[in-house]
Symmetry: D2
C-alpha cells in the first residue's frame, strides 16, 4: 500500500456521458473512486435530461447538479463556489471536442477518453486551447497506468534493451466478428457508426491504444507507416481489422495489428520490444508479469511489486506481488496521476516528475495524426506515408 | 457493468485497525469503496489514540469519529443517529473476538477478517452471539468473491464434474523464507507472533484460505485429516509450512499444502477438483481463467464474463472479458454481497439467493475447527484425526 | 503407437552434406532413423573428400560408399544393384539445385532441405525436371509434420473456422542479434553469406517456413504482398528482420514477421488463423497444443493424440497425449510420409491420400516466388507487389 | 548436435516383450534407434511364438532370432558369436524379475522397464545378482533423461537452492477415470491386474516415476512416509489415486500425489523443489523449460540448450533451444547413457562421470522399498512408517 503523506481534500469530479448502458463511464467512476482522490458531484450523464437525472440519482449525485446538457453544466459549475475541479468526458468520440472546449473555456480541468477527437484539426485546436488555458488535460490511455508498463518504459529509457530495433504491438478482439451493431448492442452501435466514432473504426477504438502503448514504452517517434485497413463484416461502415508496418525515427521498425474480428481474442493487447541488448514482452491480459530477456541470458519474469523493479513501477502498485491488480487499478492509477497534477496546478506547483509521461493533449494530437495518416495510407492502397 | 436497479444510500462503515503500516485495512477500504456501497465515517484505526487520529485525517474521517479505542467507538456509534451500519475488523487475529463481540453487543453489523478468532471456543461463542443478535456477520474469505470461483462452485453443485473424487489445494508463498520478522517488517512480526496470531502460523494465515476455497467450491465436508506442520526458519515460533492429507465425507480425498518458505511463489493459491465426469482448475494469480476438463473432451478455458458462464459468475463481474479483474475486485464483490445482506436485514427482507455461500460465522467456526484439528494432528506426529 | 500393417524393407538413403559442424544433416539422419523407414548407406558428406570419409566412418557408412563429391556418388549409386533409393540434400542453399538435378538425372528420388533453390528460375527448372522424371521430390518444410498442424489444416478445410479473414504468422529468433558470423560459428557464416544462402537472409532461412506453414494450414493463395526487409546488425550482408503485409486471394489478409535479432525468442514460429466462425492458434515451441476458439464459445485446448482430433492428426502421433513429441518427431513424420510415397511409386501405386499436402517441388517454387516478390517489394521501398 | 568423437559399432540389442498392442516396447525401440547406438537383432516379443515371429518380421529382425520364449532366447544368444550385447525387458511387471535373472545368468547386460520387480524381495535378489555378475543393469526411469532435469539435479547439488526444505511432486493422469480395463484396452488390463502389475496400481505405474524424479533431482533420502491409497473406480482391484506425505533425512518435507482418475491431466508429472536460497519447477509436459527462482530475485526461465546451463544439461540436448525435444529424446538419452556404460564395461573402462545418476538396480530396490512402505502405510490407515 503506497503511503499517503498528506491528505488533501478529494477533488470534485463532474462527468459528461456515462449514463445507463454505457461502459466506459462506469469504468471512469470506479477509477476515480478506487484510490479516493475524487468524489463525483455533478454530471450531464445522458443527452436526454430525464435519463441524465435518473443516472444522477443512481450515482448519489445531488439532483440540482444533474444537468440536462454539458453546456448548462459547464456554466453552472463555473459559477458555484464548490464547483467541480475537473470533468471526465466519456461520451462517444464525436462529442469529445466540443465538450472539452466548453469546459476548458469555463476554466475547468479536463479528463477525456480517447481518441481525443474525430479528426486531426480538432485535436490541434484543442491542443492550442489547452496550452492557452493553462489547465490540466488528461487523456485516458489507461494501459499506461499499469505498473509493469511503467517498468518497461523505464527500462527502455535506461538503455537496458540497448538500441531499439523491433517493435511488435497488437490488439486483437473478437466481439465484432458478427454484425452485432444490428442487434441493439449500444457499444457496438456507436463504435461502428462514422457519425459518432469518426472515420476510424477498429483503428480509432483500439488501434490507437496499441499505438500509444508502443510510443509510451519505447519513446520512439513514428517516421512513416503503411496501413492496410479492412472491413470483414459485410455492411459495416468502418474498418474492423488493421494491419500496419511502421518505421520509427532512428531506425527501429515495427508492426501493428488490431482487430475486432479474431475469434478467441478478448482484449489481446500485447507489446514486444527488442533492442540490441535485450527484449521485453507485456500482455494486457496478464498485466502482472513482464518478461525481460537480456541477450544471452535466461529470460526473467518481473512481477508487479516483485523484486527487481524500479521506483515508477513500485509507486503504481497497491497490493503485494501475487495478488493480481488489473484493468481498473491501472485506470485508477491514471486518475491518481491526474489528481496529483491537478492539485499541483491548484497549488501553483509543478507536477511531480513521476507523472512525466501521463498521457495528455499532445498524445491526443499524436494519436489523431496516427489515425489520419493510417486512413490516408490505406485509402491509397496501403502505400507508405510520412507520419 | 452490472445494473443497479435501485440505489439505496451508501452504508456507513466504521473500521477497527488498519492504521499506518497495515496491509489488510487498506484493502478493506478499497473493497468497500470500489462499488460505492459504503462510506467510511468512523474508526479506531490504531491502538495508540494519536496514531488513530492521524489515520482518520488521512482517510477523510471526521475528527470526532476518530476513536481512541474500539470500546469507545462502539458505544459512541451506537448512540449516534447517524451511527455506523457496520464495522470492519482488520486488527491482528487475537483481537477479532473481543472487537466483534463488542460491536455485536452494540447492535452493529460486523465484517471480520479471517481467521475469525484464535481458538475454536471463541469461534463457537461468537457464533452463538451472532445467532442471538440477529445481526449480520461477514467473514472476508475474499477468494470466494472471484466470479470464476463462483462459477466453479455452481458447476460442481450442478453435477458437471460428476461424483467428486480428488481435491488438491495449495497456497505457497515465499516472503517468510528468511527471518523477516526480525527486520522490523510489521506484517511479518505479528503473523509469526503466537500472542497476536494465535497458535497457527502459515496454517492460520493462508492455510485457512486454501481450506475455505476448497470447501466453498466443492461443498464437501471434512471427515478427517492428517497434518504435518513444520517450521523451517530457525527461531520462528509458528509453523511456516503445512502438509496435509484430507478425507471428505462421501469418499473424496484431498491434499492441502500451504507454505511461506517456497521461493518463487508469491500468492500461489490454486485449487484443482476432479470428479467422475470432469475436472476444474483455478489459480488465484490468474483469476480470470477457469480450466474445465470434461472427461474425454478437450479442456475448455472459461474466462471471466466470457461465454459459457452461469448467473452467479456473470453477476460478480464488472468489466468485459479480457480486461482483467483481480484481488481487489473479488474483495469488493464480497463487500457488495455483504451490503446486499445488510440492507436486506435493515429492510426486513431475507437476503438474495445469489449471496448464499457468502462466508460468515459458520465458516469461521469451521475454519477454527480445521485449524484446531490440524494442530492436534501435527502435535501427535501427523496422525489422522477426525474433523 | 501407430500400427504397421506390412513391413517393407528399409529404404536405402544417401546424403549430400551434413558432415561435422553441420546442424540440419544430423536432424535429417535422426528423422530418417526414428520411425525405421530408412538406413543410411551412402554419402558425400563434405566438400572435402577426407572429411566426407571421416563422417562416413562416424555414421556407420561403408567406406566404399563414402564419396568425394555428389556427382561421383550419383553415378556410382545409379549403377549399384543395391543403390540408394533416395538422396537427402542438406548442403547450404546454393548447392541444392545442382545436387537435386544430378540425382534426378541419375533416376534417384530426392529429399531436399528448404529453400529449394536460391532463385525462382532454378526452382522452376527443377520443377520441370521433377515432373519429367516421374521421381519423388520431398521438401522438408518440417513444421507441416506436426500432428496438430495437420489437425489445424483439416479443421480449416472442413470449414470449422468459416470463411477465413485474418492470418498472423511469425517466426522470431535471437541468435543473430550480434555479428555471430564473425565468430567462427559455421551456421551463422553460411546463413549470412549471399554466396551460399542466396539473396534472402532471415527471409529465406525462416521467413519461408512461416510462409509455408500459413499456406499449408490455410490453403490460401497469396495475391500480393508488401515487404519491409531490414538488416539491423551492422556489416551483415543479408536481411535479419522481415516485416510483411499479405493479401490472399478470396479476401483474407495477413501479416508475417520473421526476425533473427529479437532477444528472448528461440524459435518462436507461431500461426494464428481467424475466420468468420472461429480461430486457431499454434506455436512451434509448444507443439502439443492447438487452441481452438469457436466464435461465442470457450476456447478449447486440443492436445496431440488427445480427444477431439481427426484422422490425419492421430496418424501422425507416436505416443500418448501428455508425453510431448517435438521437432524431431515432426521431421520424422515427413520422412515417413516421404517413404510412403517413394514406396508407392516403387510399387506403381499412387500415394496414400493421407500424404496429400506433403511439401514437394511445387511448394519449393511457391516459396521461391514468395522470396523473390518480397525482395522486389522491399527493394522498391516496401510497395505492394503481386505474388 | 553433440559431437561423436569416436564411433564404436552399434550395440546388438534384444528385446523381451513389446509385441503388437504394447506401448512401451515401441518406445524402447525408438529410444534405442534415435541416437544410433543400437541395432535390434533378436527378440521374444510375445508369449505366443507365432505372434513373436510376426512382430520380428515387422521389426526387421531375422527369423532365426525371433524366439518363442525368453529362456530359449537367452540360451541361444549366449552361444552366438554375434549374440546380443544387451536385452531390453518391456514385459508386464510380473515377468521383469525372471527375465532379468535369466539374461544376467546368461552373461548378458540388461535394460529393464520400471518398476523393477513386483516385490522388494525380488528386487533385492536381483540387486545381488547384478552385483555378482558384474554386468550392466539399467532401469528406464526415463524422465531422468531430460536435459533440464539433469540441470535441476546439478543446481541442487551445487547448492544453488541452499538447504532443501520442501519437495512437491505429482503425477496425475485421467485415462483410468472409467473402468477402461473392461473395454479390451490391453494397456489398462494389465496395469489394473494384480497378477501382472503386482500389488501397486497407480502407485507402481506412475507414483514410482514421481518418487524417482524427486530423488534423482534432490538427492534426498526418504526417512518416513504416510500414504493414503485409494481406488475410486468401482470394481478395480488396484489403487488409482495416491496421496502421500514425505519426510526426508536431513529435515526436508514433501508431498507426492499420483492419480489416474483426474480428468484433464494427461501425463502431468511435475516437480517443485524449494530451499533456503531458491526454488525450481519442472513439468514433464513442457520439458524444455525449467523455472529457477533465486530467493529475492525475479524467476528465470532456463531453456533446454539455452543460456545459463551446465555441462550435464548441454550434453543431453540434441538440437538448438526453441526446437522442442520431448519424451522420446529423454528416453533415448538414457539409452545413450546405457550404451556408454555398456561399452565402458566391454572395454574394461569405468563409466564416464557424466553418467553418474543413471538409474540402475539400486534405484530399483529403492523404488520397491518405497512401494512396499507406501502399501504398508495405507493398509494401516495412512500412518507414518519408516522408509
Amino acid at each position: 500500500m503506497s503511503q499517503q503523506h498528506d491528505t488533501p481534500r478529494r477533488l470534485r469530479l463532474g462527468m459528461v456521458g456515462g449514463g445507463q448502458g454505457a461502459f466506459i463511464g462506469g469504468v471512469h467512476r470506479i477509477a476515480a473512486r478506487l484510490d479516493d482522490h475524487y468524489e463525483l458531484v455533478a454530471g450531464a450523464f445522458a443527452s436526454d435530461p430525464e435519463r441524465s437525472r435518473a443516472a444522477a440519482t443512481e450515482l448519489h449525485v445531488a439532483e440540482e447538479r444533474a444537468y440536462p446538457d454539458y453546456r448548462t453544466m459547464a456554466e453552472a459549475e463555473r459559477l458555484r463556489q464548490d464547483g467541480i475541479d475537473v470533468v471526465a468526458i466519456v461520451t462517444p468520440n464525436h462529442l469529445h471536442f466540443d465538450v472539452a472546449r466548453t469546459f476548458l473555456e469555463a476554466g475547468i480541468h479536463v479528463i477525456c477518453d480517447k481518441p481525443m477527437t474525430t479528426n486531426l484539426e480538432d485535436a490541434q485546436s484543442l491542443a492550442e486551447l489547452v496550452e492557452h488555458s493553462g489547465l490540466f488535460f488528461g487523456l485516458t490511455h489507461n494501459y499506461s497506468g499499469h505498473p509493469l508498463v511503467r517498468q518497461a518504459r523505464d527500462m527502455v529509457a535506461a538503455g537496458e534493451l540497448g538500441e531499439l530495433r523491433v517493435v511488435q504491438v497488437e490488439y486483437p478482439q473478437d466481439w465484432l466478428s458478427t454484425r452485432l451493431e444490428e442487434s441493439g448492442v449500444k457499444q457496438a452501435e456507436w463504435r461502428t457508426d462514422p457519425q459518432r466514432s469518426g472515420p476510424a473504426g477498429c483503428l480509432g477504438d483500439i488501434g490507437t491504444h496499441a499505438y500509444h502503448l508502443a510510443r509510451f514504452v519505447t519513446g520512439l517517434e513514428l517516421e512513416s507507416l503503411a496501413a492496410d485497413l479492412h472491413t470483414f463484416v459485410e455492411g459495416r461502415a468502418l474498418d474492423d481489422n488493421v494491419h500496419m508496418m511502421l518505421r520509427f525515427k532512428g531506425g527501429a521498425r515495427g508492426m501493428l495489428w488490431s482487430s475486432q474480428v479474431s475469434p478467441g481474442n478478448e482484449n489481446g493487447l500485447r507489446l514486444r520490444v527488442y533492442g540490441s541488448r535485450g527484449g521485453l514482452e507485456w500482455s494486457q491480459e496478464e498485466p502482472n508479469r513482464l518478461l525481460h530477456s537480456p541477450l544471452g541470458e535466461p529470460s526473467r519474469i518481473l512481477t508487479r511489486n516483485g523484486p527487481g523493479l524500479g521506483e515508477a513501477a513500485l509507486a503504481a502498485a497497491r497490493i503485494p506481488p501475487g495478488h493480481p491488480e488489473g484493468y481498473l487499478e491501472a485506470f485508477a492509477q491514471l486518475y491518481g496521476d491526474f489528481a496529483e497534477q491537478i492539485r499541483a496546478r491548484q497549488a501553483g506547483r509543478s507536477a511531480d516528475a513521476l507523472t512525466l509521461g501521463t498521457p495528455g493533449v499532445s498524445d491526443g494530437v499524436d494519436g489523431l495524426r496516427f489515425i489520419t495518416r493510417a486512413l490516408e495510407s490505406s485509402a491509397s492502397g496501403g502505400v507508405w506515408v510520412n507520419a
